[in-house]
């Protein structure tokens, strides 16, 4: 039996491919419905190629050799001799399943960067605004300002505007001219130009105002302060204030590497500092019988995730990978690399904060407290600072703040954050919170 963890594009592509080979497949996903963060289906939202998911959902529903366990949070994984046991929590009950092979497709979440007032109600990630609309048919607010960096801001803005939201602007920190640094990636991916054209037309249709080289650096609950920023995000000058009740701010993505980390799959640090898994050209991890596909092997978007999922599914069946599939992956990987080059997240954001601005949202730890842990208490890495300040010790277990805390300590101590530290803060020994009651009640 093959277990596939995650029912987003990568997981669903892996499931459909592996199921076609006749294997018994179990897809385990934490959401109540399949699709991951990319495909959500309470209602249809306007977006480029938004109707691609149906054949994957159908395979999940109709194929007799595919079981879908939804609403299940895997909290631990234990490798056996020729098997792997996944322990999960569903409907308050702890269960486990033992399989021969697993394909991890655990996806990613928006990377968040603090600014003054980012803890106020109304500040959220673009993913949150999109999830509210796509998954729940709810508009995040009356006047929505979208900010951050990267092409994901466009579908979020267009989706919201098409559904009737008042999108008061898109504030992109970088210039589109940065794409000129990646001519090979552009030449290899002409289909991406069509996607861009689609969004340019929609931006014109909904009369969306887009600003480049600017960022939201503060929010007071009623309006957002917008500054012109340099390419490392340092504020050059404040340019305007925009009235809004929602600021949706997203700075690329952080993959979920927890489960593969627990299973000992080798991790590496990508060019932009993101911790990802090292996989070979069959999507095999460093551990036997574990494949990894999608964002956890490098942020690349749904198109790349679909190809990687297919490759992982074929490889798990013991089949070869065609040249055509390898080329499709190669050119999309080139494109993913160009995304990193075009939309870097430098450390200039640290200057947007006041001393009392919160950096760790869970434990309410301010920039000032983190800096004093360095200057007063001689903390020289994120872990030591965490022990002094509790930054990263709250319920999210540092998923939101640990990378930012680490970058702050790096700037304060004038030391580069090491790969070892990046891998350390990206991993946690337990993948999801579980109560001792659920562990000890003997129901399994």
């Amino acid at each position: 039996m093959i277990a596939i963890v995650g029912a987003g594009p990568a997981g669903l592509a892996a499931a459909m491919t592996a199921a076609q080979g006749g294997e018994e497949i179990v897809v385990i996903d934490s959401a109540p419905r399949p699709g991951g963060q990319y495909w959500r289906h309470l209602n249809q939202v306007e977006g480029y190629k938004s109707g691609r998911s149906e054949k994957y959902f159908e395979a999940l529903r109709e194929r007799k050799n595919v079981i879908h366990i939804s609403g299940a949070q895997i909290w631990s994984a234990v490798p056996g001799e020729n098997s792997i046991t996944l322990n999960y929590l569903a409907d308050g009950i702890e269960s486990s399943i033992t399989v021969q092979k697993i394909i991890l497709a655990t996806g990613a979440h928006d990377r968040a960067i603090p600014f003054t007032g980012w803890e106020r109600p109304g500040v959220m990630t673009p993913g949150a605004a999109q999830a509210l609309l796509k998954g729940h048919n709810v508009m995040a607010g009356q006047q929505i300002l979208i900010t951050g960096t990267g092409p994901f801001l466009l579908p979020v803005a267009v989706g919201l505007a098409a559904a009737g939201a008042d999108v008061v602007g898109i504030v992109e920190a970088h210039s589109p001219l940065r794409w000129l640094m990646s001519p090979v990636a552009l030449a290899l991916n002409p289909q991406k130009a069509l996607e861009l054209l689609y969004y340019i037309r929609k931006i014109a249709k909904y009369k969306l105002k887009i600003r480049f080289n600017q960022a939201v650096v503060a929010f007071d609950g009623k309006s957002a302060t917008i500054a012109k920023v340099s390419k490392d995000l340092t504020t050059k000058k404040i340019v305007s204030k925009v009235h809004c009740d929602v600021v949706a701010a997203g700075w690329g993505f952080s993959p979920d590497v927890t489960l593969g980390g627990i299973l000992g799959c080798k991790q590496i640090v990508d060019l932009d500092g993101t911790v990802i898994f090292a996989v070979d050209n069959h999507q095999r991890s460093s551990q036997p019988n574990i494949w990894i596909a999608g964002e956890a092997t490098g942020i690349g978007g749904a198109d790349l995730a679909l190809i990687e999922g297919r490759i992982a599914g074929l490889s798990a069946l013991g089949l070869g990978i065609s040249l055509r599939l390898r080329f499709q992956r190669y050119r999309l990987q080139k494109f993913a690399r160009a995304l990193q080059v075009s939309y870097p997240v430098g450390n200039g954001w640290q200057g947007w904060l006041r001393s009392e601005s919160k950096v760790c949202r869970c434990e309410e730890v301010s920039l000032g407290e983190i800096c004093s842990s360095v200057t007063e208490l001689s903390a020289n890495d994120a872990r030591t600072s965490k022990l002094f300040t509790r930054a990263g010790m709250g319920m999210c277990q540092g998923r939101i703040c640990s990378r930012n805390v680490s970058e702050i300590i790096g700037v304060q101590t004038q030391c580069q954050v090491t790969d070892q530290e990046r891998i350390a803060y990206s991993n946690r020994p337990i993948a999801a919170p579980i109560s001792l009651g659920a562990l000890t009640d003997g129901i399994k």
Binding site: T125, A128, A129, A131, V138
Partner: protein
């Protein structure tokens, strides 16, 4: 999708009656009816709403039928739910 709009669900939040649609998360249903504060923080008593919206940040935790630390962005509303803010 099409017929779900008719399936109204009643629940309470901090003692006040609210309505939502089947399949909606607690956070979505409350935001739809104009709620802008799901809880206050432990130390600074600051209001919090949703942040990541997909179950990662735990900023939106509420008490659902006396079970604490439930993520309002993930847990779907059920008829008769009694939901309150946690600290």
């Amino acid at each position: 999708m099409s017929n779900s709009a008719s399936q109204k669900i009643s629940f309470t939040f901090n003692g006040v009656a609210h309505e939502g649609v089947r399949g909606q998360s607690i956070a979505a249903a409350l935001m739809e009816s104009g709620v802008r504060e799901l809880r206050q923080t432990r130390f600074g008593n600051e209001p919090r709403l949703i942040f990541c919206g997909i179950g990662v940040c735990f900023d939106c935790v509420v008490v659902v039928n006396e079970v604490a630390n439930q993520r309002a962005c993930l847990v779907e509303i059920a008829p008769g739910d009694q939901i309150r803010s946690s600290k």
